[in-house]
Amino acid sequence: MRGELHYDAVVIGGGTAGLVAGARLAEGGARVCVLTKGVGSTHLAPATIDVLGYDPDRVVSPSGAMAEFVAGHPDHPYAVLGTDAVAEAVRWFRARVDAGPLAGYRYLGDLDRNYLLPTAVGALRPSAVVPETMAAGDAVRVERTCVVGTRSLRDFHASLCAANLSRAGISARSVEIEVEVDKADQNALGFARRFDDPAWRAAFAGRLALKLQAHERVGLPAMLGLRDPHGVWSDLERRLGRPVFEIPTLPPSVPGMRLYEILRSTLRRAGGRLVVGAEVVSAERSGSRVTSVATRSAGHDARYAAPWFVLAAGGFNSGAIELDSRWDTHDRVLGLPLRGLPAEGGPRFVGDYLAEQPMARVGVAVDGELRAEGAENVVVAGAALPGAVPWREGSGEGIALASGSHAAELVIAQSGAPAGAAA
C-alpha cells in the first residue's frame, strides 16, 4: 500500500450526490477527493431532475406540494433539507450545466411546475427540471406527437409509446425509420455517437422528414448526441422545422452520460479529484470519528485520510447497503447503523410488486443535520439516506442535488473548527 493521502474531505460515491458534494466542496476551497467504485446511477437514470413527482397522486408543483409531503413523511430527507435548499441546489446545478463542457446544452424548469414527459412505454412522468432536449415532450403542449423509432434499436418501441400516449389523451402516432447498422445489437449510446456525426444526422433527418405530417412535434429515443447534444438537437429542429424531443429509455442512458460529464468536469475545474475504480474496502476509526478509508483497485491499494467524509455510495441499488442470505442488513462501506428496517420478524417484501416494499426506505441512520449516527464527521447524501423511495416518489435527483449540496455546505462551515467540536 502507498502512503496515506490527505484531503480536507473525501467523498465516497460518484453518482449525482457524490459528484455534487465533491464539486461544491472544491468550489468552496476544500481539497477534495471523490472515490468511486465505478460510474454510478447517472448512467442508468433518465437524467431529468425529479424533485417530487408523486405523493402518491401526481404532483403538479413540487414547491407547492412540499410542505404537505414533508408533513406526511417526517423521516424523509426533504424534512431536513427543505424546499429552499432544493431550489438553491437546482439553481446551482442549472448554472453549472450552462457553464459546462457541453456547449449550449441547458436544463429548463424550476420547482413551481412539473413537466409531464412521455416515457418509452408511453406513460407520462413528472419531472421538475429537464434537459432542453426533452422539454418539448411536455404533455401540456398542444401539438400532435409523432414518436419515431427504428427497428435497429431494441430498447425503444415507438408504436407502444405512441399508442399509450393516445390512450392518455395525447394525439400521437408512430413511424419507423430504417437505419443501416453494422451489427444487430445497438443501444442508445451507439446511436448517440452516430447522431454526433453531422453527415449521418443529415441523412437521418432527410429520411424522417418524408414521413412527418404538418404541425407534429417529433419524439425520438434519448440518443441525440453525446459530445454535442445541443448542436444535434437544434440541428434536427432546424432541419425538420418543428419541435423535437428526447424520450428516455432503457439503460445505458445517454442524457445520464451527459450529466456525468457535466458534473465530473465541474468537479475537476474546481480542483477536485475523482478516482474511478476505487472501491472503499475498510475504514479506520478513532472513537466516533472516521479517520481514513482504504480502497482497493487494480494497480494498488491506497488509504485516504481526511477530517470529513461524505458518504454518497448509494443504497441497495449500488451494493453499498447489503441484505445478506441470513437476512442481516449492513452498510458495507463504513459499517454504520441503518434506519428504516422492517420490524424484527416482519416481512421484508410483500407479494404485490407495485406496492411499497417494507425494505424500500432503508438507509444509513442520520441525525438532524444528515450526519451519520455514530460517526460525527460523516455526512450522508443521496440514495444512502433513509426515509425515501425515490423511484416511486420521483425524488431521486432532488434528494441527490440538495443533500450533496448540504453535505458540502456543512463540511465547509465546520472546517477550521475540529469536526464535532460544536457537538
Binding site: P46, R154, H157, S159, S166, S318, G319, E322, L354, W391
Partner: protein, 526 residues
C-alpha cells in the same frame, strides 16, 4: 357453441397428458389435449429439471429405479434436443452416513443403473466448487431435461398428426351417459367461449388435480395428496454435473444445473390444495443450508428465484391394503371400468417426469382396450419434432448461434440469448399475448435480470405485431412483472436485491409502468 368429436380427450397438459396424447396420436387415434392454463404450467414446469438415472431410487424403490434407467435411455434417444447429457454424481459428504455408499452401489448394480465409483479428487477436478470433504463419489447417467421444450415438442408432434392442442381451456363439466363418460365441456380462458368435446375415451391426466377431475365425472375416492416442494434457482451453474447426496432421499439433497442456472431442491410438505404456492422462509433457509453441504459458499452466490411444485401422491381409498408411502411415489393407472364400472374414463396420476413416456404407454394401452382396437405403442423409438438430428442440447448452443449471426440477429433477452425472430415467431405460432407463455417457450426473462431489460422490449414487439392493442401489451407487461415478483421476493438478498432495485428503477422510475393509462383507470375503479 362449438363441438368437437374425437377418439381420445386428454385432460391435463403436463408431460404426462402431452405424452398420452402423443402416444395416442402415434397409434393413429384422433386426440384433443386440453389444459386449464398453459402447457406444463403445473407440476411439470415446476420441478428441478432432473432426468433421473434411477440412482435416487436404487435403494429405496428398486422398481422405480429400473423404470428410471430404462426411460432415461429412451428419452435421451427420442428427445435429445430437450436434454443436456451432463451426468450425475452421488457424493458422500461429512453429513451423510458413510455406510450408505456401499448399499447405494449394490442397489445400482441390482437395478441396472450404470454407476461407477470415481476418485473424489477426480470429482473435484471436474467440479471444483464441490464440497472438498466428500469421501466417496459415484458417477451415474443423470441428465437435465427442459420440460417446456419437451412438452411443446410433443404438442407439435400431436398437431402434425392432426391432433388438437388447447391450452387455456378449463374443463367445466364431464359428461356421463349412464355408466359411460362421453366427453367434457370446456371454457376458453381468453374469451369465455364454451366448447363441447365428444370423446370415446376421456383420460384424466391432471396429476395433483386428478381427484378434482374424477369428482367431476362422478367417480369417488380418487385421492391425490399434493406434496409441495420448493426449488431455488441460483443465477449461474455452480456445478455442471447433477450433484446428489449419497444417502436415503431427503430434503435439499440435490443440485441440478440446467440451462444458465442451477437448481437446489427440494422439500416435501403435504398440503390440501394443489394450487398452494406458499414459500416459507424456514424452507428457504433450510434449502440454502443444505446447498452449503454440497457446494460450500452457495449462500454467497445469487439466488434468483424460488418456486413450488406439487407432486401428485396417490392414495386409493378403494384399494384393499393401504399403500405404504414409498409405493405411492410410483404412478397409478386407474381404469374406471374395472374400478368403478364406468366406461370410457381412465385416470393416470402419480409418477415422475422421467417416467412420463412409460405412464403414457400404459395409459394408452388401457385406452386402446376401451376402444376395442388394440394398436401397438411406438413412442420408444419415434423421435420428437426438433430432435431429428439426434444431437443433445449443449450449453453453448445459443451463444454459438448468436456468434455466427452478430450482424443480423437482434437479441431481445441477453441473459438467455433469445433472438427477436424467435420471439416474433413464438408470438405468431402460439397466437398468444401472454409474455409468460413466451417465457416458458423460449426462457425469455428467466436469467439473472429476471426480465429487467427484455420485457419492455418484448411488450413493444408484441404491440408492433398486427392486431394487438396497447392495453393488451400493457397488461401482458404488468402481468409478467407481477408473476415474476412472486418467485423473486422470497429469496431476495445480496446482489439479486441490487438487480431487483435496478429493475424497480427501470419499471417504476424510467418507464413508470404504474402510471400507464390502464393501471390508473384500474386504480380509480377499485
Amino acid at each position: 357453441m362449438a363441438t368437437l368429436s374425437t377418439d381420445v380427450l386428454v385432460i391435463g397438459g403436463g408431460a404426462t397428458g402431452a405424452g398420452v396424447a402423443w402416444d395416442a396420436a402415434l397409434r393413429g387415434y384422433d386426440v384433443v389435449l386440453v389444459d386449464r392454463a398453459d402447457l406444463a404450467e403445473g407440476t411439470s414446469g415446476r420441478f428441478h429439471g432432473l432426468l433421473h438415472s434411477g440412482g435416487r431410487y436404487a435403494v429405496k424403490d428398486p422398481r422405480a429405479a429400473e423404470e428410471c434407467i430404462a426411460e432415461n435411455r429412451i428419452l435421451k434417444a427420442i428427445t435429445p434436443d430437450s436434454i443436456e447429457d451432463i451426468g450425475g454424481f452421488f457424493v458422500t459428504t461429512p453429513f451423510d452416513d458413510p455406510a450408505y455408499a456401499d448399499v447405494f452401489a449394490k442397489g445400482c448394480r441390482d437395478t441396472g443403473v450404470d454407476c461407477e465409483e470415481i476418485d473424489p479428487a477426480q470429482a473435484l477436478r471436474e467440479e471444483p466448487l464441490l464440497n472438498p470433504a466428500v469421501s466417496r463419489v459415484f458417477r451415474v447417467p443423470d441428465a437435465n431435461i427442459d420440460v417446456w421444450k419437451t412438452v411443446w415438442a410433443l404438442a407439435r408432434g400431436i398437431q402434425e398428426r392432426g391432433g388438437r392442442v388447447l391450452p387455456y381451456h378449463a374443463v367445466v363439466g364431464i359428461h356421463r351417459s349412464g355408466d359411460q363418460v362421453t366427453g367434457a365441456r370446456l371454457r376458453g380462458a381468453a374469451t369465455g367461449e364454451e366448447i363441447e368435446v365428444e370423446a370415446r375415451v376421456t383420460v384424466n391426466a391432471s396429476g395433483a388435480w386428478a381427484g378434482v377431475v374424477a369428482d367431476m365425472a362422478g367417480i369417488e375416492g380418487v385421492r391425490v395428496l399434493p406434496g409441495r416442494g420448493i426449488m431455488i434457482a441460483m443465477n449461474h451453474r455452480l456445478v455442471n454435473t447433477c450433484v446428489n447426496r449419497c444417502q436415503m432421499p431427503t430434503d435439499g439433497d440435490i443440485i441440478v444445473p440446467i440451462r444458465t442456472v442451477c437448481v437446489i431442491g427440494t422439500t416435501d410438505v403435504n398440503t390440501d390444495d394443489p394450487d398452494d404456492h406458499t414459500v416459507l422462509q424456514s424452507e428457504v433457509d433450510a434449502m440454502l443450508d443444505d446447498g452449503e453441504k454440497l457446494v460450500p459458499g452457495v449462500r454467497q452466490a445469487r439466488a434468483m428465484r424460488v418456486w413450488t411444485g406439487v407432486r401428485p401422491l396417490f392414495e386409493d381409498s378403494k384399494a384393499a391394503d393401504t399403500d405404504s408411502r414409498d409405493v405411492t411415489r410410483a404412478h397409478a393407472l386407474l381404469d374406471h371400468a374395472e374400478r368403478d364400472g364406468v366406461q370410457g374414463f381412465v385416470t393416470i396420476t402419480g409418477g415422475k417426469l422421467t417416467t412420463f413416456r412409460l405412464m403414457a404407454e400404459e395409459t394408452v394401452d388401457a385406452v386402446s382396450k376401451h376402444l376395442g382396437d388394440e394398436r401397438p405403442c411406438t413412442t420408444k423409438t419415434e423421435l420428437l419434432p426438433g430432435s431429428e438430428d439426434g444431437t443433445t442440447y449443449h450449453l453453448g448452443e445459443r451463444l454459438s448461434r448468436k456468434e455466427a449471426r452478430l450482424a443480423d440477429e437482434q437479441i431481445v433477452c441477453e441473459c438467455e440469448l433469445v433472438p427477436r425472430w424467435k420471439v416474433e415467431q413464438a408470438i405468431e405460432r402460439r397466437a398468444t399475448t401472454n409474455l409468460d407463455d413466451i417465457r416458458r417457450l423460449l426462457r425469455l426473462g428467466m436469467g439473472p435480470c429476471q426480465g429487467g431489460f427484455c420485457i419492455y422490449r418484448a411488450a413493444g414487439i408484441l404491440h408492433g405485431l398486427d392486431g394487438l392493442t396497447a392495453d393488451q401489451a400493457d397488461e401482458s407487461l404488468l402481468h409478467f412483472l407481477r408473476e415474476r415478483w412472486k418467485g423473486v421476493w422470497p429469496v431476495l438478498y445480496g446482489d439479486q436485491l441490487r438487480q431487483a432495485r435496478l429493475d424497480d428503477w427501470i419499471f417504476q422510475g424510467i418507464l413508470d409502468v404504474e402510471h400507464l393509462p390502464a393501471v390508473e383507470a384500474e386504480a380509480v375503479t377499485s
